[in-house]
Amino acid sequence: MVNVVLRSESGLPPAGTEERRRLACGDGSTSTETIMKWIHQWYPQTLRAMHSFGSLFERHGGAAINSEGVFLQLEQTYNNFLRHAGLPSLSQGAAQLGAIGGAE
């Protein structure tokens, strides 16, 4: 997958991301806001789509798996993914939502 990393104002990618394929948009454009707007537009419905698979983990996972744990882990992994991409985590992103607008 092509990973998107936004350069910080210093022009350097976030630490630990050097080995990833990256798409740098550090030219002072409004890319971050645009990207976060789209993430906020699409994330809730996509997450709901993932939750619709919850019953699989409830019915078939036995004692070893519970769907609550699966989705908690899924959201944590996703926030780490955003952080590595140089984007605000979703809770931080939500705070900016008012400024960006356009979210569901």
């Binding site: 998107v4 890319s31 419905q45 997450l47 709901r48 789509a49 699989l56 078939h60 798996i65 899924l74």
Partner: protein, 247 residues
Amino acid sequence: MTQKTYWHLEHERRIPTEYELASSKLLYYKTHRGFELTMPLDQWYEQHQLNSELQCQQWDRFSDPRATTYTSYTEMQSDKETFVDALLELMGSSDYDAGLNAAHVELLEKVIAPMRYPVHGLQMVASYFAHMAPEGRITIASMFQSLDEVRRIQRLAYRTRLLQLTHPKFAHNSQSVWENDPMWQPLREIIERLLVVYDWGQSFVVCNLVVKPLFDELMMVHFGHLAKCNGDYLLDQMLGSLHQDCL
């Protein structure tokens, strides 16, 4: 003085790498400020590429740190394919599938076989933003992403066929499951909406920063773990290999 074939990379003041040679300035229409012929395609690119909401003054600053070329891609995938071939051979040549419990086979029928459809959607989305991308190196990386999805479809189909050898009625209705099972419908709506996002930037961002990270993690990692808990440890390993393509 004779002009070198890599004159456009001379400013680097060193011999270019294979990746730089193979990937630089590939989109001829960018250099020539448009296509040679006036066609409806021009308007499409103007609207959905040039006027994308996602703007960057220097797309050519993107460089794949893995410096993936077609040669290195096929070499890298060859090792993974050898590994998955061995897993599938093991599944097919032993009584592995006969040993899976009925509830798990039912689960595979609901998940593994219909999964070909959303993955095919993701492959088409990747192909779309690959050819719409404003820079050749993004096109190349995106095409490799599309190829990864083809690999995933092919392996899921192969696994489905193997299960049919032991369970003849397995997945006879997977298209219907994809189109009607309530579990799949929210994802189907997302994939179908994503397929008609024509702004290349939005298509790229929504696919790679929202849908794929969540879908890949849930299906390749968590579902793999679920399969392992049900005794299907070879499927877990196969999905693990396919997940490497998603990182």
